[in-house]
Symmetry: C2
Subunit: 152 residues, 2 copies
DNA sequence: GAAGAAATTGAAAATGACAATCAGAAAGCT
DNA sequence: AGCTTTCTGATTGTCATTTTCAATTTCTTC
């Protein structure tokens, strides 16, 4: 089994553990706790969201640790950091599933995920025109969701 | 000549003056100075960029005024505020030309503008699927430009 | 399982972009 | 000119994020 295939089959806990080992980091109870909460979390949460959720059962875990650990998750590839322009970073678990982008309702905050392979392909073609090598991209549509359109 | 057509033919100075009149704002020498610098500016500059550029000839103009005036330009539609995720808002003059999005080199900071009507159309279709009404969007491709790809 | 080196934690303080404040200045209407 | 409203610019406030640092924990090595 080649390395790439193995990576795709690894779950997020394994990816994180491997990263920790590879970088000479340490396994701490806090990191494990935050990892569990992270994986069981609803999508698109802020550091503050997760911090307050953790406080109930783990009041000793500090805000800075939650923040640093989420950054670590993003670094090792099990989290994606999002910015919907509201001045607060958001995170979502990343798995091997298909990439998606977001519709963001500017009225109620609803976030809809969408996948459009044709757009992905076209943006690759655009980049190719400029000999540009895409590392990541951000594609967000802001406006009113179905419910908020009716209300206004 | 209908109103819409006239708007498209108006230049940015006229749009701004109309906006000032309509909102009961005042014409000040600072706003005129900043407007001229803004229109003659290279694209995708930060508030700080413009502030320091203005300082040479207009050392009396304060940072807050530059900031407020750029926001005003965005409000009245002659500027677009951009966020390339580096923690600093950027601005570019907006005219009636075609909408564009950006390629951003994460190594040297080069910004390339691109236009892809098919992507615009596809994202409209995506929104329609969810009965979502798009007000604005953000589509940015981050990675290495041609030059930086060769160097690495 | 003790010892030592290295990383981590959490409370607090620092940072930095942006926004708000406010007294004096300027604009612009009558 | 007089008067009302807006504007300016130095300063201060705000707030998410990042850094600091002493105490603690992890983990390798004996
Ligand atoms: Mn998502
Ligand atoms: Mn541009
Ligand atoms: Zn909504
Ligand atoms: Zn470059």
């Amino acid at each position: 089994m080649n390395r790439l295939l193995r990576v795709y089959l690894m779950d997020q806990v394994t990816i994180f553990n491997d990263y920790v080992r590879r970088k000479g980091l340490k396994n701490t109870s806090q990191r494990l706790t935050i990892l569990e909460a992270f994986l069981g979390s609803k999508l698109h949460f802020s550091t503050e969201d997760l911090y307050f959720r953790l406080r109930k059962d783990h009041p000793k875990i500090g805000y800075a640790t939650v923040h640093r650990t989420l950054k670590l998750f993003a670094e090792c590839g099990i989290a994606r950091e999002l910015d919907f322009g509201d001045g607060q970073a958001r995170f979502e678990p990343l798995n091997a599933d298909q990439h998606h982008d977001h519709l963001v309702c500017t009225n109620c905050g609803l976030i809809i995920e969408f996948t459009e392979p044709q757009i992905e392909k076209l943006q690759e073609q655009v980049a190719a025109q400029y000999n540009f090598k895409i590392e990541r991209h951000r594609h967000e549509l802001y406006g009113l969701c179905s419910k908020c359109t009716k209300l206004s």
